[in-house]
Every structure is written in structure tokens, then in C-alpha cells.
């Protein structure tokens, strides 16, 4: 799993993500509600138009029925269908068979309806007769639809809907900010706590370590020497955490002092530093470190990177395990024989405060720091892990 896309997780980023998710869902619901409202409004406008036209069409149908009645009575002498230029009409018998029509399209008539619009923008009104003049049970009267209502309805939907959408979106943004505020506050509290804790850790840890260095183990009995060694391990662990937290909280305030760092010497030095921690779990180091490998980087950041890889390799390793460290031109590999992790966990590994085993110590910031340093110096970090077998972290850089 590459660290290229999983660099520093900060408050504003997670806030934005939550905000966008909320806004996406909110917008979808708003559009759904507005769509539903628009459909209801459109259908109401259409019904209103049809009810207005129905009165007119009823008058036309009465006139037509009078004409049919006369034609029925005088059919032996007179056979001209009653016509009016204001409307078109048709008559159907009780079995819905067309008797006569002046309609534009008599095939699409829906005799089970009362009034409706056709796809060709005509309004058709159906009148069912009680006395079947000329055998006609259904009288259909048709006029062309005046589309003014349609354009008015759509204009109102677009203007009103647009205004409502804007209003809802503004309300949504305000709501989202309210929603995110507690999370933002919690993250800010956590960061403040880490800063304060870090500040308070520095002096006592420094004092413990410097005093331990002054003690001569050969002058101590074996039991006391063992206890002192345990204190040193604990102090180094705290010191490591302190350095990580300092980097995390203050790295943007400290200018980088980039230079050609002798990575071979640094890796050796950091292994020695962690050896005492590793020994407490009976972990042994296997090293394959090429000499004179250099990298243009801030030395303290390079140390942070190596320390975090070694620290994780110790923390997540099993007792009597091994840590294999390999350094060659353009590549550093740190592999452990520990618990390993699955693909999903490997993807999340670079996120801040992500811990995969709460039984071991730490804040879940180590690999996040590695990712941050890698991003700053254009290094490629990859995790190759297999659950139950171990994890290998590969750091690669371009060799000029």
C-alpha cells in the first residue's frame, strides 16, 4: 500500500469530507422533494387548465349531440355530419367501434377517460350518451391545446424551484457547519492536549536519560543493573513518543535543514538506539546496510522516519522475532516477523491515530509521520504485509 495519497490527516480535511458527504445527501433529498413538489404543481396546473377547458368542451359536445339527434331522426333524407370549425369530433358505438370522425388521430382516443391531453397537444373530452343517436354511445370532442399554461408552469417551477434550492442549500451549509462543530472542537482539544503533554514531557525525560547515561553499570550489582536497564528502555520509549509528538505539532514551524545525510551511519545509529528496546522482547536485528548511502534530507526528519519504522517493527513483532533492515542505493527496507495486517488495514495504515493493536503502546501517529516526511521529500513508501507473517515497509527515493 502506497503512502502517496495518505499523508497528513488534518482537521479541515476530515471536516470537509464530512461536510461534502452531508451536503451530498442533503442536496439529493432537497432535489427529490423539489422534484416531487414540482410534479404535484405541474399536475395541478394541468388539471386547472383542463377543468377550465372542460366547460367549453361540454358546450361543444351539447351542440354536437343536438346535431346527432337531428341526423338520427332525419337520416333517410339528410346524412351530413354536424361540424363546427371550433372543434373536431368523433362518435363511437357501445363496443367502442368508430362510427364517424373528424379527429386528427381517432386511433389514440381513450374512451375510459373524461378529459385529457394527447401527445400531439390536443385536448379530448369524452361524453357518454344515454340515448345512442346513430348508435353513438361515446362522443369525443377535440380542440388544440393552448400551451401557454405549460410554459407558465415550467417558468414557475424553474424560478421557484431554483430559489428554493438555493435557500435549502444555504440552510444545508449552515446545518453542516453546526454538525461539524463538535467534531472540530474534539479534534482541536486532542491536538491541544498533545501539544501540552509534549511540552511537559521534555524536561523529565531528558533528565532521566542523561542521568542513566552517567550511571556506570559495572559498579552496580546485577539486579540493580537490570532495573536501571528497564528504566532506560522506558525512558527511550517515552523519548521516542515525545519526538513524534513534537514533530507532529511543530513540524510546520521548524525550517528544514536539508543536507546530504549519511543514511548508512544514521541507520546504524538508530538500530543501536533501538537495540535495547528490541532486546527486551528478545528480538534480533539482521542488517544488510550498504556503506556511504546518502540522501538529501533534514537529518532529524530522516531520524524520525527511521525511528518510526524501527519502533513499529519492535512494537508489532513477536517475542524472539527478527527485524531485517536493508539499505541500498535509493531504497530502505524494514521488515518484521510480527502480527502483520490485512489489505484493508494496510490501506488505513498511514492515517493519523490509526492503531491496529491496542495491546501495544503508541498513539497511532508513527506511519502518519513517515507519510508526511515522505511527501515532503518525494519518497515513495509502500507497505507489504501478510497477516500472521509480518510486515515490510519499503522506502524508495530517486537517485541522482
Amino acid at each position: 500500500m502506497s503512502a502517496s495519497n495518505a499523508t497528513a490527516t488534518n482537521i479541515s480535511r476530515s471536516e470537509k469530507r464530512t461536510l461534502f458527504r452531508f451536503l451530498g445527501l442533503y442536496t439529493f433529498l432537497v432535489v427529490l422533494i423539489l422534484g416531487l413538489g414540482s410534479t404535484i404543481y405541474y399536475n395541478l396546473q394541468k388539471d386547472l387548465m383542463l377543468q377550465t377547458k372542460r366547460l367549453e368542451l361540454e358546450e361543444f359536445s351539447k351542440e354536437l349531440i343536438d346535431g346527432l339527434k337531428l341526423l338520427h331522426i332525419y337520416f333517410d333524407r339528410y346524412r351530413t355530419y354536424p361540424r363546427n370549425p371550433l372543434y373536431r369530433s368523433a362518435i363511437y358505438d357501445a363496443d367502442k367501434v368508430l362510427i364517424f370522425s373528424t379527429l386528427k388521430d381517432p386511433k389514440g382516443v381513450r374512451l375510459d377517460k373524461v378529459i385529457y391531453t394527447t401527445p400531439k397537444h390536443q385536448i379530448q373530452y369524452i361524453h357518454v350518451l344515454d340515448s345512442y343517436y346513430l348508435g353513438a354511445k361515446y362522443v369525443v370532442v377535440e380542440i388544440d391545446e393552448d400551451r401557454a399554461w405549460f410554459y407558465t408552469a415550467w417558468r414557475n417551477i424553474l424560478l421557484g424551484g431554483g430559489a428554493l434550492l438555493a435557500l435549502f442549500l444555504v440552510a444545508g451549509i449552515l446545518l453542516a457547519r453546526l454538525l461539524v462543530a463538535p467534531m472540530k472542537e474534539a479534534m482541536s482539544l486532542l491536538d491541544r492536549f498533545i501539544k501540552d503533554t509534549t511540552h511537559e514531557l521534555n524536561t523529565p525525560v531528558g533528565a532521566i536519560l542523561s542521568n542513566i547515561e552517567l550511571i556506570r553499570p559495572e559498579r552496580l550489582d546485577s539486579s540493580t543493573a537490570k532495573k536501571i536497564r528497564r528504566i532506560e528502555i522506558a525512558a527511550r520509549t517515552i523519548s521516542n513518543i515525545y519526538k513524534d509528538l513534537t514533530y507532529l505539532t511543530l513540524h510546520h514551524q521548524i525550517a528544514s535543514d536539508n543536507q546530504d545525510v549519511d543514511m548508512s551511519a544514521l541507520v546504524h545509529e538508530r538500530i543501536e538506539y533501538f537495540r535495547i528496546l528490541a532486546e527486551s522482547k528478545r528480538i534480533t536485528f539482521q542488517t544488510d546496510i550498504a556503506p556511504r548511502i546518502t540522501l538529501h534530507i533534514d537529518a532529524s526528519k530522516a531520524a524520525r522516519l527511521i525511528d518510526n519504522l524501527l519502533s513499529n517493527a519492535v512494537k508489532y513483532n513477536r517475542r524472539n522475532g527478527t527485524i531485517r533492515v536493508m539499505l541500498k542505493e535509493g531504497e530502505l527496507r524494514v521488515a518484521d516477523t510480527g502480527i502483520g495486517m490485512d489489505e484493508t488495514a494496510a490501506k488505513e495504515a498511514f492515517k493519523r491515530y490509526k492503531r491496529f493493536d491496542t495491546a501495544v503502546g503508541g498513539f497511532g501517529i508513527g506511519l502518519n509521520i513517515v507519510a508526511m516526511i515522505a511527501k515532503e521529500y518525494g519518497l515513495r513508501v509502500e507497505i507489504v504485509s501478510q497477516k500472521g507473517k509480518g510486515t515490510e515497509v519499503i522506502v524508495q527515493w530517486r537517485v541522482s
Binding site: D76, D93, Y132, L134, K137
Partner: protein
Amino acid sequence: MARFLMLLIPLIVTAGPYRYNCVACHQRRNLSLEALFFDYLLKYSSERRVKAALYSFIKHPTKKKAVASEDVIKREGLMPQTTLNDTDLRKAINTYWEKYKVFGKIR
């Protein structure tokens, strides 16, 4: 001549039951078949329903089924039950429908 006869015979055969039974009787009593047809049309509307009503009435004439006015029934009485067999009766009804139907006659 033979061809003319071949065309004429089916017409005579088809129109026969209607002409020699329905028309003959209605002419004698001076009762318009056309007016009765339009009464049927006014009450029953479609071809299927008109034919079914005619068949039912001619087979078993009752006052309830009759479409003629009460005055006419009082004056002329109900028509007697038909002596035509089913095939001839249906032929007569078909001829009657074809003669007076409005389909294709409205302009």
C-alpha cells in the same frame, strides 16, 4: 347469362328470408322497418348488441323486449313468434343490418 345468374343467386338466397318474411309482413301492416332499425340503434348502439336484441325479440317476442311504441303495439299487436330456423333468422338479421346501418353512409 350464366355468369349473371351465378352472381344473382347468392343475393336472392341471402336476401330471401328477410324479403319474404320480414319485409312482406311489415309492408302489409305499413310498419317502417327503417324506423324500427333506428329505434334499435337508439337503444342498443352497436352491431353486436342490436343483432342480439333483434334475435332475442324475434325468437320470443314480448312487450318488454319490443322497441316499438305502446300505441303501435296496441294497434298492431306483438309480432308472432318466428317460424324461421336459426340460420335463416340470422341471415335475415344480417341483411337488415347491412341495409340500414349508418357505417359508411355519413358524409
